[in-house]
Every structure is written in C-alpha cells, then in structure tokens.
C-alpha cells in the first residue's frame, strides 16, 4: 500500500534568497559551514533540528544563493544569518534579499537583477 501524506501534513517550506556582501570569494561548502555553525551556536542542536535547513543552490560567481527552511523556523533562520559576521576569517555580511514560498518565485523576484 502506498503511503499517502495529507496536504495538511505536508511540510511548508520557505526559500530565502541571499547574497554575500564583502570582498572574499566563497564556495558552497563555506556557506554550509557558516550557516549551520551560526544556527548551532544560536539555538543549539535541538533548535537547529527544527529548522530543516538546506542550501538549495549557491552561485559562487555572483555570490548569491537560496536556502530552504521550514516555514515555522523562518524568523530563526533569518536571525542566524544576521549573526554571521565572518566566513573563513574574512569579514562578510549575508544580506537577505527576500523570502518566498516557491523556488521559482524566489528566483524571479529576488535573484534576477
């Protein structure tokens, strides 16, 4: 028997479009480390587990990307991104350009220009 999930039980995601402001060039791995590290430091392991964080994509040329998280944890993730001040010992700001419910809209609205 196929296991069905009700629409009401499905996870609602939020897609956060961000860009890096700074002089350094960073890879996706650096971003993953920085974002998870900031979340772990601010909320601990239990808090971070509730966020269901995932880096959907990161353009290392433009230094922009999309992070996926649970819609309930949106504010928490934004706060953790705010708390990031350094990546690989280099000063950086993660500037959130916007939050959307779908990847397509997120790209269209916040990452086109």
């Amino acid at each position: 028997m196929k296991f069905k999930v009700k629409a009401s039980q499905k996870e609602n995601w939020r897609y956060i479009a961000f860009e890096l402001v700074g002089t350094g060039i960073f890879s996706e791995q650096d971003i993953v480390k920085a974002v998870t590290g900031a979340n772990l430091r601010l909320y601990g392991e239990v808090g971070t587990s509730e966020e269901n964080l995932w880096i959907i994509e990161f353009d290392s040329e433009k230094q922009r990307g999309i992070i996926r998280c649970s819609h309930k944890a949106q504010q928490k993730v934004l706060a953790a991104l705010t708390a990031i001040t350094k990546i690989n010992e280099q000063d950086v700001v993660i500037n959130v350009r916007g939050v959307s419910g779908t990847i397509r809209k997120c790209k269209e609205k916040y990452l086109k220009t």
């Binding site: 928490k76 934004l78 706060a79 705010t82 708390a83 700001v93 959130v96 939050v99």
Partner: protein, 223 residues
C-alpha cells in the same frame, strides 16, 4: 528604514553607497562630542539620495557633561545621543527631555522611570551583539531582556541601531527584526523599534527646529 546610530559617514565615507543595498533610506551622521556643520553640509550635498540626519553623540563620563552638551548642541543638530559611561551620567541623560535617546542603553529602574517621564528613548546597537560570542553575548542578551522588561513596564520607546563602524555592521530591516525577535522582542515591538520610532523621533525634532512644535505637546496648527 532610518539607521540613527552608525559611524560609517564619519569614519568610512567611501562605504556610504551600501546604505541603499540594505534598504536604508535615512542615516545619521554621528559626530562625537562636537558638531562640524561644514562637513555635514558637504555630506548632505554629496549623498542626495539619502536623508541624512545630523547627530551629536555625547560620550558622558560626568553628570555635567550631559547638560553642557544639551545647551551647546540642541539648536544645531537633529539628534542628541548620550552614550553614558557612568550611572550618574545616565541618570542625568534620562532626566533631560532634550536628549533624544540613550545609546547602548542598559538602564536601571530609576533611570527607566525618568526616561518614560521625559520621553527619552533607549537605543540598542546590533553591533554589540554581533561582535561578541559565548558568555559575553549571553550576558548582553540578559541585560537587554531586563531593559526590555523595564521599557514595557514604563512604555519607553526603543530604537534599534546598527552601531556600524563599516559596511560589515549593516543589516536590512527584515533581518534586524528577525534577530531581535530571537532575543526576546515581540514582533510589533521589533517592527516599531526598527521602522517607526526612529522616523518619529527625526520628524519630531525637525518640526521642533522649524518651530512647528513649540514645546512638548504644543504644536502650531495654523497661523
């Protein structure tokens, strides 16, 4: 969004173009313990897309310094900010209705009551929280929550400033609101502290300087 407490325009002027990137429409030009009108006028002409607010930050170590600074600068600048290094100076600042806000405010019960009475706002710098880690940050957060409790009790206006020395201290409004919410602010309080209260303070002072508002609570509606 207005960022009323940052030092970018006085210390790292070349980074002023970043304000727009972070959605900052108005920024203060903070002079410490003095006011250079010529420099302010030059900056205002150079950055016409920004609403620049002139401000003097009084770094007060003694009680008398607050009064002297208020007498000297009140008619020259839009904002008077007191950064109190001492409890007595902080109390003096809270007793002056001419002071707009106390920067990096970690006030006590008595000062909070005076702040409410004289409509002096409390300001918190995000830079303080971003620049510290571990136990130091935890202590700061606990102080902030104590002050937040006092602000709620006495209905004191709160302002959030970046306190940025360079571009790496700037954040956009959405992120600021989310960050302070995680520190204990309610959503409405955070929104007011980032978006509404700074704008209200600037508008009030400009009206006062244009003599639309004659004194606290008295405005010229029609001549």
């Amino acid at each position: 969004m207005y960022d009323l407490h940052n030092f970018i325009l006085t210390r790292k002027e070349e980074q002023a173009s970043y304000f727009q990137k972070f959605g900052i429409r108005g920024a203060s030009v903070v002079f410490e313990n003095n006011f250079d009108f010529r420099k302010f006028r030059e900056l205002r002409e150079r950055y016409k897309n920004l609403d620049l607010v002139s401000a003097v930050e009084v770094v007060a170590e003694r009680k008398g310094e607050v009064k002297n600074a208020v007498d000297r600068f009140r008619n020259q600048v839009d904002l008077i900010i007191v950064n109190a290094q001492d409890t007595r100076a902080m109390r003096a600042a809270s007793e002056h209705s001419e002071v707009d806000f106390i920067a990096r405010a970690f006030v006590d019960q008595t000062a909070a009551r005076d702040c409410a009475k004289n409509n002096v706002a409390l300001e918190f710098d995000i830079a303080d929280f971003l620049g510290t880690y571990g136990m130091k940050r935890a202590t700061l957060i606990s102080k902030l929550q104590f002050n937040l409790g006092l602000a709620r009790k006495y209905k004191i206006p709160i302002i959030l400033g970046s306190g940025a020395q360079n571009v790496y201290g700037l954040r956009n409004a959405m992120q600021l609101i989310a960050f302070v919410e995680s520190l204990g602010f309610r959503h409405e309080e955070a929104k007011a502290a980032v978006l509404k209260t700074p704008f209200k303070i600037v508008r009030k002072n400009r009206e006062r300087r244009k003599e639309i508002e004659v004194m606290e609570g008295v405005r010229i509606v029609k001549e």
